[in-house]
């Protein structure tokens, strides 16, 4: 175990981020699986994108947990991928409406979830920057 790992406090803002990521893994995963299995033909693109969002949140949860103990490499990739996904899907859902007869989790930048999907990776990146600084100093 590295020094960084052993000196990292268990408590911190990452706990709130982890709670959000766990919730969105559950919400996006359950929603996409129900839609893919019961109404696949209505909007397959949107439903597959919701499943992709669920997988991204699960990986994001793992990445933040790792970053909280000093291993920031995976999170610094994963959070940018998540932000890219939200911005890409959000823009496509506004620009190419016919691809989204039903909404995905990231449609309209996550408006169905109070824009939390758009805020979450930004909050994660801000926390990660501070985390990297504190480990660089410490």
């Amino acid at each position: 175990m590295s020094d960084a790992t052993s000196t990292t406090p268990r408590s911190g803002p990452h706990q709130v981020l982890l709670a959000f990521y766990a919730l969105f893994t559950l919400a996006a995963g359950a929603r996409s699986l129900v839609q893919l299995t019961t109404q696949y033909d209505e909007a397959p693109v949107a439903y597959w994108l919701s499943l992709a969002a669920a997988v991204t949140y699960a990986l994001g949860w793992y990445a933040i947990r790792e970053a909280s103990v000093g291993r920031t490499g995976f999170a610094s990739v994963m959070l940018w991928i998540e932000l890219g996904g939200v911005l890409t899907v959000g823009t496509l859902s506004l620009a190419v409406r016919e691809w989204f007869p039903d909404a995905s989790v990231w449609s309209d930048y996550g408006i169905g979830y109070g824009f939390v999907p758009a805020v979450l990776p930004i909050a994660g990146l801000i926390w990660l920057r501070r985390q990297q600084r504190s480990h660089a100093v410490g």
Partner: protein, 118 residues
Amino acid sequence: MPSVSTQITWIVVGYAVLVALLALMTAVRKQERPGWLDQLAWMLEALLVVRALAGLGAFSGDGPPSTSTYVGYLIASVCVLPIAMKSIEGDRASWSAGVITVAAVAVGVIAVRLEMTA
């Protein structure tokens, strides 16, 4: 007059908002998580269990329009808070109150969605 489950839902939502606000205040003030906040959270869980039991009544007659969605919300409504409390077990730091804030808001939203899909 609204049904019993609808009335319980609004009690749950109001109580969830109260718990979320108190937990948020604790986190913002950077105070150690007080014991009474845990008790409030478990009271909220008890209300959610009552709401879930009342929600089983939706299966009498024609049942909810989307059974799988309804069952998903029903299960999530009683599982979220215990998982959140387990994740902060033994940790009294202020950020642990932030986790209760997130969980309380989530179960409030789930309760509303449960009502909408019944």
